[in-house]
Symmetry: C2
Subunit: 337 residues, 2 copies
């Protein structure tokens, strides 16, 4: 069943059928009604490949997701889908591993499908620096800053990781803690962990609290299991800490579980704070005090920025900082004296 069949069945030409299908107005009411009746009778949908091949030779908006196990990204993708569905935009989502080169992938995808716009969820700035120049369509990087790059077709929307990290560590310090361990991230790759760490260190410095990265910091990937293991290593090395700041909620959930298994009772013996504000943070025991990244805003600004760029002849790249908010839980209390 194709447009030619519909033409035969309705007694009109394929051109007129095509016009009706695309909502053009220069069609008589009787042609419109006749054609739509047979379209509906057969539940006809035009072939997407042929349509895109002609239309403007542009494919749907692409979403390139870096990392498969990221609950925040999962949230954001859902909202992107909902928003774009609502305005009738198709979405193509590609999931890459954390260490894959997303810009290379985008280049290949551009060749094969010529997307009208690309949303990157997560990204390594080094890759952008090297290869992004060959990307032609408007793009938005969500959760990382591109201001150091200044490509004309690349905007970004993100949380101010450094300041947010400062703010949440401030909560720990306000409660009276002087020896704070930090768990999570990998400083050699991904500037995000580095920014969070640096905000934390700045906050401690402001309060004249010492921080030795060799003894008080322990890296970990963003998973419960790795958070669990990292806490165990940290506490074995530096048992005098009274509070832990985990660079992600999933890390914190693993770390808290490790603390409990190590005989600590929470939050009395050890305070915890973290980053992200995933749903589980509000239901775990104790509830996490965390700094919430607004996934809704990240997604909505990401989409609206991209759409604006797509509809403007001379796109003006922007950098959009989404507000964060301290979400009070029960995981921070005064240290034992």
């Amino acid at each position: 069943m194709n447009i030619k069949d519909i033409a035969n069945l309705s007694g009109y030409s394929v051109a007129t059928v095509s016009r009706v299908l695309n909502g053009h107005t220069n069609v008589s009411a009787s042609a419109h009604d006749k054609i739509m009746s047979v379209v509906n009778q057969y539940n006809f949908e035009p072939n997407a490949n042929a349509r895109e091949l002609k239309r403007n030779e542009k494919d749907p908006i692409a979403v390139i997701v870096k990392g498969r196990n990221n609950l925040l990204f999962a949230d954001i993708i859902e909202i992107i889908h909902t928003t774009l569905d609502a305005i009738g935009e198709e979405v193509y989502v590609a999931y890459l591993d954390e260490d894959e080169n997303e810009v290379r992938f985008a280049l290949r995808h551009q060749m094969a499908s010529n997307p009208r716009g690309i949303l990157f969820l997560g990204g390594e700035l080094e890759y952008f620096k090297q290869h992004f120049g060959m990307i032609a369509c408007p793009c938005v990087l969500i959760t990382n800053s591109t201001t150091s790059l200044s490509f004309p077709n690349l905007s970004c929307v993100l949380t101010n990781d450094e300041q947010a990290s400062f703010d949440i560590v401030n909560e720990i310090i306000k409660a009276g803690h002087q020896s704070i361990g930090i768990v999570g991230g990998n400083l050699s790759q991904g500037q995000i962990s580095a920014r969070r760490l640096s905000g934390a260190i700045r906050c401690m410095a402001c309060h004249n609290i010492g921080f030795n990265i060799h003894t008080h910091y322990e890296p970990s990937r963003y998973s419960m299991q790795e958070g669990y293991d990292a806490f165990k290593r940290l506490i074995a090395r530096t048992p005098d800490i009274t509070a832990v700041y985990a660079l992600g909620d999933v890390i914190a959930i693993g770390a808290m579980r490790a603390a409990i298994d190590s005989g600590y009772s929470l939050p009395c013996d050890m305070s915890f704070a973290s980053f992200d504000g995933i749903q589980g943070a509000r239901f775990c025991v104790p509830r996490l005090t965390t700094v919430r990244q607004d996934s809704t805003l990240l997604a909505q600004y990401g989409v609206s920025t991209l759409l604006k760029m797509m509809s403007t002849a001379e796109p003006l790249p922007v950098c959009c900082i989404v507000p964060h908010v301290i979400q009070q839980g029960e995981s921070i209390i005064k240290p034992r004296t």
Copy 2:
């Protein structure tokens, strides 16, 4: 940049370029080398729309996901992606709301894109009964049984929800509980919740334990917040229960939090068991005793079943039951006497 440009640049015809690009063997080594060198120089990728339009006029495998917030599905999708990527199959994923008609969607998608196969994650049998007859390609429904339908191009892979539910409730009863509340699901739609409930009831009946669905059962959608609320309603109505069986881990996590907020201490005052085996179940406090659905096997059997059907002229629909396993946690202990 298209295949014609590559042809000009290399001095061969588009036909020969196309042959090289598709790995045909009837091409001279010199032509192959020359053409590949310019393809690589420009990082050329053939246009996907034009290619699919010609090739066999078939699009990638489609994955139709019912419900956007399902952690088990998220797991399964990830494995599907990985498996299919590895053999060079493209995947198109569509997320529908829980109450959308996935078979109608598949019909429209078939018209527009003519997929070579469809994987349904979740599905309402009623919709399949009504409209699936018009779907032409091989399909596999994951997490629900299609044996009552007998379409020649529809297989299924699922956990035996009824038996798994029986087994986990048996754990509760073995610990000595006599008054068990059940939280979760919605019996009017989605046979899965009904099967889980019925396995639980059968188990109680086997042990001569009474169960009054009006007092001891409380429905809930599959989310932490709804699990929280449902527990509160249940405990207000039926305070004499000593154990709760939640039909999903996320419901259980919400319900446990509600129990704690109601002044219960866990697991001493109230035992919990649930269904699914998501990652968080191993890190929450107390660790959940749950019956694990094997997302890896569900995904792998789903994919391999689909591929087999796609490669066979006369596909033989199968129903594949994936083993479940009781995952011991700390959430079930003897009731207080």
